[in-house]
Symmetry: C2
Subunit: 255 residues, 2 copies
DNA sequence: TTCGTACGCTGTACAAGGTACGGAGTACGA
DNA sequence: TCGTACTCCGTACCTTGTACAGCGTACGAA
């Protein structure tokens, strides 16, 4: 799997689980030793502390002190578990109203809330939501975020487009930040060390005169961030562009 | 691996391979039956036709009609192969100069070139380039794209920021488009079918009155795109916002 | 001509992952 | 006192990257 995807399981079963529309407890057999929420929480804890790649059925089971196959009593498979994790994270997001504030503050607030979510749960950024989990968390989130764009003169389709645009920006930032952290971790090399390992070798093959702009700008950018990728800087720069881009849509005279 | 990453191998060995700064051919033993370029091309073909997940050492080897382990004579490991694939794709991008054109056309051209690259090689969008392949392809690409932002009054650091911003946007679009295609393929369900499978069940649990904006906007957006995710629309909408966002940086009076 | 050596190629093996299958044990209704 | 419907889980299969060791080849030296 190049990228994990939400809603990859059976739609009917997934919706039932998301909304906890579970069948009444069975009449026969021993009582269950765990709960669905317990399983989901364990998976989220595992992902928070060790990353999405660490969310394996075996590791989640170990965390709950049961055998791997036991989890399949609670969840049809890993795909559904991912949906439950994501909707659970959405559900726990704080949602403070910004009614009455200028639109830039409202949209920036939406972006920041999502940045905070993905900072607390970096694994969530790695999950593609082309087919979002249609659970209570996602619904509440969508409603809340749309309300920040309501009443600005955008039609309904443009509201959806604009929100998707903002969220895609934040997710892209979070993914890059997570990738940068993973690169440092996996290679056991900081960005500076990595650059130091490459620079002398690169000098031997790279012709700075053939690529003058690249040499100049690369050096300047490297110096500005201390040869390290700076996620916070990318977010600040990008969010300002995103808001200015939306301004042309929102503040422009229409008619 | 939640996401593949470029430059995950040994920096020195990777640079040697990228720049084809290979040691002279050995004096002893049988001649090699394949070439590095042949291996890289086979891997790219495999990725183009079956996706990044299909690029396994075994499948690439099968395509070349050799045993899996044979590839390790040409490439230290899969991480280095990914770098070679990516730099190879960069190398083959067309680079037409847009000197003299208005800056919006020039930047849009950069975005379109990258969209075309990622349309031809969707797997490239799935590879994180926080630590880019430092090969001839990446260098030529960086020089070319920076030149589109040169002479607009941006300082060097802002040029790098702006380019990264544009490229991140295009990559995010391409990833989402690829994820949407993969969702249709894997689930054997079109977006419309998937929605049809969810709608009746969702009606039973979703309270439209509790989420009025979500219900209204969701319906409008769904109707506008025929309940299908539309990557081309997202790209058009987003690129317009990106350019307007940069305009505030470039066209604004500075002093 | 005959090796020694260095090298290309490959068969086997291991660990980690999701999960199908079927068996052991448990508790309620009849 | 069962039959039945559960929960839980041991085992097993398939796939992946790649370490390791063995086999065969071809050049330089003797």
């Amino acid at each position: 799997m190049p990228s994990e995807r939400s809603n990859a399981g059976d739609p009917a079963r997934t919706l039932e689980l998301l909304w906890r529309a579970t069948a009444p407890p069975p009449k026969h057999g021993p009582a269950q030793g765990l709960t669905l929420d317990g399983v989901v929480s364990a998976a989220i804890s595992e992902a928070d502390s060790a990353g999405l790649a660490a969310v394996t059925m075996r590791r989640v089971a170990t965390r709950l002190e049961v055998a791997p196959m036991t989890l399949y009593t609670y969840v049809p498979g890993k795909a559904e578990l991912l949906d439950l994790m994501l909707d659970g994270a959405y559900q726990r997001m704080p949602r403070t109203s910004t009614a009455g504030r200028p639109w830039r503050q409202r949209v920036a607030r939406v972006a920041d809330e999502n940045r905070d979510l993905l900072a607390a749960h970096p694994w969530a950024a790695a999950i593609s939501t082309v087919r979002p989990p249609l659970g209570p968390g996602a619904m509440a989130k969508y409603e809340h975020e749309l309300s920040a764009l309501d009443g600005l003169g955008l039609d309904d389709v443009a509201m959806d487009d604009a929100l998707a645009y903002v969220l895609a920006f934040v997710q892209a930032c979070a993914r890059t930040a997570a990738d940068a952290r993973a690169a440092v971790h996996d290679s056991a090399m900081s960005d500076a060390q990595w650059w130091a390992a490459n620079a002398p070798l690169l000098d031997r093959v790279f012709d700075a005169e053939a690529y003058p702009t690249a040499a100049r700008v690369g050096a300047a950018a490297g110096a500005a961030h201390g040869t390290a990728y700076d996620p916070a800087h990318a977010y600040r720069f990008g969010l300002a562009r995103v808001l200015d881009g939306l301004a042309a849509l929102i503040d422009a005279p229409r008619g």
